[in-house]
Structures are given as C-alpha cells and as structure tokens.
C-alpha cells in the first residue's frame, strides 16, 4: 500500500512538472503559451510586468519551478483575465456539478452493471441473459453525445418531461426542497445519458467474470456444501466478479470523465468542468484550461487510490502481487 501511494505521488509530481515545463518549451515563450497571443497584445505593460513577476519569469528556471510548486500547493492556479477571477475560484464554481453528476452516474451505472451482470452470468444462456446481453451490446455501440442528444430530444423536447438545459432554473426563486428537486430534475437527463453510456461496459465485465468464476472448482464445492443459491451467487461468485470491475473502473475513469463531462455536459449546457473546458478552449483561456487539466488529473489519481484501497479489501491476493 505504501509503495502504491508512492507510485501515485510520483505520477502526480510528473504531471504537475509537465504542466510547468511544457508551456515554457513552446514557441513564443511561456507567457504567450500560457495566455495566448491575443491577450498579450491587449494588456498594459504594467500588467505584463505583474504577470512576469507573479510567475517568477524574471528568475532562473529552477527558481521559477520552485515558485510554481509553492503556488500550486497554496492553491494558486493563476488568474483568468477572461473571467476576471482567480482560476481556482472559477474551477471551484464548476467542479461540484461535475462531481455530482459523475459521482451519481458512476454509482448507478456501476450498481446496475454489476447487478445485471451477475444475474446474466448466473443464468447464462437464459432468455433474460440473452436479452440483457443484446441490449447492452446494442447500446454500447452508440457514441455518448448521440445518446445525450437522443434523450434530450425524446424526453426533453418531444415529451417535454424534463428541463434540457443548465443545472437549475435561473429565474425562479425556489427555496429548500424546491431547489433540490429542481436540481435533480435538471440533472436527470444528463445523468440518465451517462448511466446509459457507462452501464454496458461494467455489465459485460461483470458477466464475463461471473461466468468464468462459476466454472471454478470452489463454486462446485460451494454447491456441494449445500449453500443457498443467493449465498453462492453473491458471496462466492459475485464478490470475485467485482474485482475486474474495480480495476477497469479505475482505468476507464479518465476517459469516462472526458466523454461524460465534456460531451454530455456540452449537450445539456451543464455548468460543470466539461462546459468550462469547452468554453476555455473557445476563448483560449489557457490558465483556466491548465488549471482544469491539473484538477482532473488529481481527480483521476484520487479515484484510483480509493479504488485501489477497496480492491485490496476485496481481493487479498493483491498484496502478494507486489
């Protein structure tokens, strides 16, 4: 475990270092790389001075690097001239929406995927298994934004059941419960799309690993022991079938964050990190972009650390693998 955390720390260090060095190695110098040429043309010399000294660009490279590390640790990610606000603040305005959306979508899609996958694997070859399998393969074949648009048109526009834009109603003045319901309503369509997109892979991994676990002698022994079906299904076979789901979730988290956050948030104009990144790209708001990438990286690492922890709880063999 210690060794693992060290690995993560090293990974983290490499990423923030890249974040520091890459702009400095780009043509046009760091300021242009960080702020874009348009900004440079429009700011006053004093501001430029301020920027230069705030980055320590007048100091030697090592000093700059040190200053950069210190400011990151302090939570100072720079300043966005477009938003006229510190980068960290901008990000913190958007991050909770993404966390909420992704978190709940991951929770539900993983739960559905695991439950359905176990059921399917247990009853391999049955009607329900065939139906589920075909359905999942079918739905996995659509790109995420397509699903999002489909949901938006169907439930939002044609049926008019749910709001199709934003994270809450802007002009209404709902208090307490009302605003919570409002937020949930807004989140429902993007969340449903995400669940729809995420579930198949979890389902398929669980089903496959369930099927291979069911062929293991220890399952035969569990049956010979006269254990109840539910115990064999969930405790003996099911538990072990989650293990690959956990590793896969960690591996896929980064891509999911991007497909989830970027595409789906954009389709629904959901004010999370995806929309923020999208807008920053369009505006070339590089400080925000850089900060966002850093935050996302940290998020991916943290999720992996947490999964690692649970993974070891479930699979005692792992400690021996190192």
């Amino acid at each position: 475990m210690k060794k693992n955390i060290l690995n993560y720390l090293i990974a983290f260090f490499i990423i923030i270092s890249l974040n520091f060095f890459v702009p400095r190695l780009m043509p046009g110098g760091p300021i242009e790389a960080i702020y874009g040429s348009e900004v440079l043309l429009n700011i006053s010399p004093e501001t430029k001075e301020a920027i230069i000294s705030s980055f320590g660009l007048d100091k030697p490279l090592f000093g700059q690097y040190f200053q950069y590390l210190v400011s990151i640790l302090k939570g100072d990610f720079g300043y966005s001239f477009y938003q006229n606000s510190p980068v960290l603040k901008v990000i913190l305005n958007h991050l909770p929406w993404t966390l909420g959306l992704m978190g709940s979508a991951l929770f539900f899609s993983t739960s559905f995927g695991i439950l359905l996958g176990m059921e399917s694997g247990w009853k391999r070859g049955s009607k329900i298994d065939k139906f589920l399998l075909n359905f999942m393969i079918f739905s996995a074949s659509f790109p995420s934004f397509f699903i999002a648009i489909l949901f938006l048109i169907l439930f939002g526009i044609i049926l008019g059941l749910l709001p199709i834009q934003g994270a809450r109603s802007i002009y209404s003045n709902l208090g307490g419960m009302g605003s919570i319901v409002d937020i949930i309503k807004h989140a429902l369509l993007p969340m449903a799309s995400l669940i729809f997109v995420f579930t198949p892979s979890t389902y398929i991994i669980t089903r496959n690993s369930m099927i291979s676990n069911l062929a293991e002698p220890y399952i035969l022994l569990a049956k010979a022991k006269g254990l109840k079906e539910t115990k064999i299904k969930y405790y003996h076979a099911g538990k072990n079938s989650i293990i690959p789901v956990m590793t896969q979730t960690g591996i896929r988290f980064a891509t999911r964050l991007i497909t989830g956050a970027l595409f789906i948030e954009i389709v629904f104009s959901y004010p999370g990190m995806g929309s923020l990144i999208y807008n920053s790209i369009q505006l070339r708001d590089y400080p925000v972009l850089q900060g966002s990438l850093l935050v996302i990286t940290i998020l991916v690492l943290v999720v992996n650390i947490i999964l690692d922890f649970f993974y070891k709880k479930v699979d005692p063999r792992i400690n021996y693998a190192y």
Binding site: E216, Y218, L220, A224, K225, G226, L227, K231
Partner: protein
C-alpha cells in the same frame, strides 16, 4: 447406509460410469482405484447428486441411496439440504477448491449454518487435524498445499455426515505429510461410510476394507482390499498394482501395454489385455462372484497358464523331484531358486518334454498335456543355460531366428523373414540385411543371448522357460537382457519361469520366488 445400484452416468454421448453397484455400511471404507479419466471423480460427484452441476449435458440413471433417500429422485431444494448434512466431499482439485477471497475459517464456518457452538467445533476439528490455529484466518493462497488439504478435510468431516467422499485427498503432498493426513482421515472416518477415490494404491491399502477396480467406467474387480492387493485376479488390477511403486515389492515397475481407449462393445480392457480371446471383443463380461470376490472377465481372471501337479522324477535311485506342485499365471514371472544340482534344469526339461517324468500331470491353459507336440511348442519355449553351444555355427542369423517357423512349417519365406525382423527389433537387435546374413560367432555374448530369446519368441509363446539365461554375461549386459524380458512380458503377457541360484537377481525379476530343495518346492 450408502447403496449404489446400477449407476450409469453420461457426459453427452460418452458413458462414464457403467452400471456400478456397491453397498457401504457405517465404519466401512471402500477404495475406488483406476487410471486417470476412468470415472472416479464422476462417481464422487454422482454420490452428491452433482453430475448436473458438473455438466449441463449429462445424465444419471440408477439408484444412489443415502440413509433411505434416493439422491437421483430428490428435488433441488431437498438435495441441497441433504448435502453436507448427510454426505460431504473432499474435492480432488485442492488448488482452487477454496474460494481465494474468503478466509478458510469462514469457508468452514458456512457449512455449519447458524449453530451456536460452531466456533468451538471448528477449533476442535482444526486441532484434531493438526492445523496451526493461528493460521485459521488466512486466505487460501497464504497456506501451503498440505494446510489447504487439511482445511478441506476438516470441512468435510465437521458437519458429521454419514457418507464422506475423499477424492485424491493426499495428491501433491510429500510422503510425510501424506502419512500424517492418512492417519487423521483414519481417525475421523470411524463410524462413517467413506468412499476413497484414488490411484494411490498405498493409501487404498491403508484406509479401506474393500477395493473396487474401475476400468473405463466399468467395475472389473471388487474384493477385500487385502485380498485384492495380495492376489489381484483381473489382468487390469494386476497391471495397475504392478505399475505402482511399492516398497514391499522388489520386481521392477511394469506398465500396462497400450493406453486407455473408449471401447463400445466387449470387455473394456480387451485392447490392452494380453490374454484376450475372441469373445472378449464381442461380449462384455458380467461381474460375477468367484471365491468371495467379484470379477468381470470371460476367462475368470488371470488364467493359470501352466500347472504342474505332483511331478516326480528319479534318476535310478536318486530322487530328484518329489511330487512338485507349481502354477504359473499368465504374465507372471516365477523364479525357481535352488543350488546347483537341485533339479531345476530337470524340471525345466520335463516341462519342455525333453526328459520324461515318472509321474504327475501338466496342464497347459487348464488342459492336460498328453503329448509334447507342435501345438505345445507354439506356446512353450525355452532359453538354455549354455547359449553359445546351442547355436549352430554354420547357420546365418536369419536362419537361426527363423528356424522354429521352418520346423513348424509356418508361413512363406517372405513372411518368416518379416517376422524375424520384427522380433529382432523387439529384442533390440538390428534387422539390416548385412546383420541377418552374418554368422553368430562374430557376436558378443549379450547379442547371442538376444538372438536366442528372439528365436524363442518367434512362435509367440505364452510361456518362456529361462534357465540361467544371463549367467554367462557381465552385469550390465545382464541388466539389459532382464529389462528386455520385463518389457516383453508387459507387451505380450508372457509368463516366465526363471531359473537361477542368484537370490538378488530373483528378487529383481520375479513376482514370486519358490525354492527347490531336496526335490521339494517351498
């Protein structure tokens, strides 16, 4: 307590167990032995009503009765409740018979449902099987094979079932651990009915009162364990025992010729049996009771190839043989041990019809021998003591080897040559044209001995009398010749009457040793 009647199991089209029947009472242990793939584990799963779980494409017929319940007639839920309460199993595959992500303690615990004193029970049995208690919360991969094996055994006995199936409970263990576990099992299985599925003959000997020999899913012999191992009656049982290393036997290991094959009709063993007759490939022999044990063989088991009854011989006043009784079974080596002049060669010569006996009878394959005719010599051949002088120096090797066929007027010259080449290669001599055309005086003692053996084998005899066949050879050549005879015996079921005065040699080559002294065999 346990009754198996006409049990038939199929995986797909393949019939694995074929009308198996046996009964088992409290306190009894039955060993089921047989080669890999013969259906031992299948029997184990059948007894727990698990064949359907092993393969969906399976079928079970017949009756398995445990404590009055017919396993094959119970519905799923009743069967589930009966498992482990009345019948439990130690599965063969200890590598992954335990769930890797659950502690071994919990895996034992879960068979006890919610019993109140379960912790005490578990600790008790773990102590009994000598399992280190501080390791009880380990995961399977943290334990050694022996420890895992102990856990599986503890698990099988803890619920105090009436029937326990042990499927290779000590495979992949070192001898010391194995012996410990055998002792533990013995203690635990008092007042239980135990089915031991194994190909470990020494364990079968130690643990069981009765043994059932399975070949291709068919019971070929079923007898008291002691009796069966001391005196196996079925050719397959003997082959199985012979191929298993056993410190109480000195003869070199021998296998069973050919390999296990699926046979549709006839005796399942007929392709490998060295005493098969025509009917064996057509009709399946029934399992019949003979002398208190059951055997399925058209010939009633290994046949007595030659039987000497009250053979006496005097040379003038000198009594050489005094009412000798001796029987040689098919595929068996019997050594006659005796001092020089004890009459060993005389007995051999009587068997060859070269010396006339004064009284007594000889039976070949249960028929009295009246005349020593061509038919007799087809089945009985001899290799003499003084080999070099028994070969004519004016004959080429080919002619020497072919001679018996010429004398018996069998085959064309071409066929005889072909046969000679085959037999020569069987005794590991070259069969090139130049070698065939050589004269024997060029050859070494070992080569000459091989030629003599080849000549004796030309008629495919069933009995070979070998009178000090290696006395003139140095030890390394002797070893090769004896190994050769051993192999030929394995492949042809040849019975060998070996005559020597060398006790160590006798031990190495023979199934039985008899002593000839003062005209009497003991």
């Amino acid at each position: 307590m346990l009754k198996v009647e006409n049990l038939v199991t199929r995986y797909g089209e393949k019939r694995i167990l074929n009308k198996m029947s046996f009964k088992l009472d409290k306190g009894e242990t039955i060993s089921v032995i047989g080669e890999s793939g013969t259906g031992k584990s299948t029997l184990g799963f059948a007894v727990l009503g698990m064949i359907g779980e092993v393969s969906e494409n399976s079928k079970v017929e017949g009756k398995i009765e445990i404590d009055g319940f017919d396993i094959n007639k119970l519905d799923k839920e009743d069967l589930r409740k009966l498992r482990w309460k009345k019948v439990s199993i130690v599965m063969q595959n200890i590598d992954d018979a335990l769930n890797p992500t659950i502690t071994v303690y919990k895996q034992i615990e879960e068979v006890l449902d919610k019993q109140e004193n379960r912790n005490k029970k578990i600790i008790d049995i773990l102590k009994k099987i000598d399992f280190p208690l501080n390791r009880k919360d380990a995961y399977p991969h943290q334990l050694s094979m022996g420890e895992r094996q102990k856990i599986l055994i503890a698990m099988a006995f803890i619920s105090n079932p009436e029937v326990v199936v042990l499927d290779e409970p000590t495979s992949s263990l070192d001898t010391e651990t194995k012996n410990k576990i055998i002792a533990i099992i013995k203690k635990l299985s008092e007042n239980k009915a135990v089915i031991l599925l194994t190909h470990d003959i020494s364990m079968a000997k130690k643990l069981s009162n009765r043994t059932l020999v399975l070949y291709g899913g068919t019971t070929v012999e079923y007898a008291e364990t002691k009796k069966l191992f001391k005196n196996p009656r079925h050719p397959y049982s003997r082959g199985l025992i012979r191929s298993y290393p056993d410190s109480s036997r000195t003869k070199d290991l021998q296998g069973i010729r050919g390999r296990a094959e699926f046979v549709k009709t006839g005796c399942p063993f007929y392709k490998r049996c060295t005493q098969a007759i025509d009917i064996c490939s057509i009709k399946k022999p029934k399992l019949l009771k003979r002398n208190g044990s059951f055997i399925a063989c058209h010939r009633g088991g290994i046949i007595p190839l030659i039987k000497m009854e009250k053979i006496s011989k005097n040379f003038g006043k000198l009594q050489i043989l005094n009412s000798i009784n001796l029987t040689l079974f098919e595929g068996e080596t019997v050594t006659i041990l005796g001092k020089s002049g004890a009459g060993k060669t005389t007995l051999a010569k009587i068997l060859m019809g070269l010396v006339e006996k004064d009284s007594g009878n000889i039976y070949l394959e249960n028929k009295e021998v009246k005349r020593f005719d061509a038919e007799y010599y087809k089945k009985v051949q001899m290799v003499f003591q003084d080999t070099r002088s028994s070969l004519s120096h004016r004959m080429k090797i080919l002619d020497i080897v072919m001679e018996p066929l010429v004398v018996q007027d069998i085959g064309t010259r071409q066929q005889r040559t072909g046969k000679a080449k085959k037999v020569l290669s069987e005794v590991q001599l070259p069969s090139s044209r130049s070698f065939l055309n050589e004269y024997p005086h060029h050859l070494s003692g070992g080569e000459i001995q091989r030629i003599v053996i080849a000549r004796a084998l030309m008629l495919e005899p069933k009995l070979l009398i070998a009178d000090e066949p290696t006395s003139a050879l140095d030890a390394s050549v002797q070893a090769k010749i004896l190994k050769l005879l051993n192999n030929i015996q394995e492949n042809r079921g040849l019975a060998i009457l070996f005559i020597t005065h060398d006790l160590d040699l006798a031990k190495k080559v023979s199934d039985r040793i008899v002593k000839l002294e003062n005209g009497i065999i003991s």
